[in-house]
Symmetry: C2
Subunit: 202 residues, 2 copies
C-alpha cells in the first residue's frame, strides 16, 4: 500500500496535521460511499434506484475531490499563520504589524476547516439513502463511511475552534462558531443514526 500521506502526517512537520487529517478522513468516507454506489449500480435487484445511485456517485466523487484539495488548502493556510506567530513585537509598530498579519492569517485558517466541515456534512447527507437503498452486501461499508465522516466533522470543528479563539473580531468569531455548531449538530445526528441503523441490521 502507498503510505506517502501517512509518512508525511507522522513527520515532525506541522502540516499536514489535524486539519489535513480531517479533510483526508472526509475523503475516506466519500470514497467508501462511492464504492457502495459502484457495488449497487448494474445489479438487477437494485435497478429501481440506479438513476439516483448514479447521481449520488457523481456528487460523492466531486466531494472526494474537494476534500482532497482541502488537505492541501489546509497546509497552505497554516504557513502564513506560522510566519505571523514568529514575527517580532519589540516595538509598538512591530506589534501592530504582527497582530494585523496574525488576524489576516487566522481568517483563512478558520475558513478552510469550516469548508472541510461543510463537505463532510454533504457526504453525511448522502449516507441515509445508501443505507436504505444500497447493496446489502456493502451495508457495513456505509456504516464505516458514517463513522469516518463523523470523526472528520468533529476533527475539522476542533481546528475551527483553535483559530476562532484567537480572532480579535468578535462578531466574525461568533458567526464562525455558530456556523460550525450548526454543521456539527446536524451532521453528527445524521451520521450517528446511520451508524446505529447499520449496527442493528448487521
Amino acid at each position: 500500500m502507498d503510505t506517502a500521506f501517512l509518512d508525511e502526517l507522522a513527520s515532525g512537520s506541522p502540516t499536514p496535521g489535524g486539519g489535513g487529517a480531517a479533510a483526508y478522513g472526509g475523503a475516506l468516507a466519500a470514497a467508501l460511499a462511492s464504492m457502495v454506489c459502484h457495488l449497487t449500480i448494474g445489479k438487477k435487484r437494485y435497478a429501481d434506484v440506479e438513476p439516483q445511485m448514479e447521481e449520488a456517485l457523481s456528487r460523492l466523487t466531486d466531494l472526494r475531490r474537494e476534500l482532497e484539495a482541502l488537505v492541501e488548502a489546509d497546509a497552505r493556510a497554516f504557513a502564513p499563520l506560522s510566519d505571523a506567530y514568529r514575527m517580532p513585537k519589540a516595538t509598538p509598530g512591530e506589534a501592530r504589524a504582527k497582530e494585523a498579519a496574525l488576524q489576516a492569517a487566522l481568517k483563512d485558517a478558520t475558513e478552510v476547516p469550516l469548508s472541510i466541515m461543510e463537505a463532510c456534512a454533504r457526504v453525511i447527507s448522502e449516507l441515509g439513502f445508501l443505507q436504505e437503498e444500497g447493496s446489502r452486501l456493502a451495508l457495513s461499508d456505509v456504516g464505516c463511511a458514517a463513522l469516518f465522516a463523523d470523526a472528520a466533522l468533529q476533527a475539522a470543528n476542533m481546528n475551527v475552534r483553535i483559530n476562532v479563539s484567537s480572532l480579535a473580531d468578535e462578531d466574525k468569531a461568533l458567526a464562525y462558531e455558530r456556523k460550525a455548531d450548526g454543521l456539527l449538530r446536524a451532521g453528527r445526528a445524521t451520521a450517528q443514526q446511520v451508524a446505529e441503523n447499520v449496527m442493528k441490521e448487521l
Copy 2:
C-alpha cells in the same frame, strides 16, 4: 497529494472496503500521534518527558506499520470468503464443501478486524499521555487522533460483527464477540475522554 489509496477505496472492487478503511483510519491516528511526539521532542519546555515521549513514538511507529500491514491483510482475508460464497451447493457434497470453505474463511475474516481493534486500542492507550504532556501547540492534533482512532475501532468492530454472525461454531463466535466488546468499550471510553479534554482546553 497522493490519492492512490482513496482511488482504490472508491472503486467498484470490494477491497479495500470498510475493513481496510478501519485499518487505514487507525494508522492515520497513529501517524498524527507520532507527529505530536516529534513536535514535543527536542523542545526545552518538554525536556522532562523526553524519554517517555521517545518510547511513545517508537511504539506508535510500530503500531502504524502494523495497521498499514492490516490494510493488506484485510483484503487477503476477504478473497477466500468471496470465493466460498460463490461455490455451488447443488448436491449435498457441494453444500458440505461450500460450508467448510465458508467457515474456514470466516475465521480469518473475523480475526483480521479483531487485530485492527487491538492495534487501535493500543494507539488510544498512548493518547492520554500525549494530551497531558505533549506540546501544547499540537493539542488539537491529539484530539483529532482520538477521534479517528475511535472511529477506526468502531469500524473494525462492524467488520467483526458481520463475519461473526455467520460463524457456525457458537463458542468461537461468543469468544470473538466478547473480545470485541471489551476492546470497544475500554477503547471508546478512553478516546472520548481524550477528545473531551482537548475540546475543554482549546
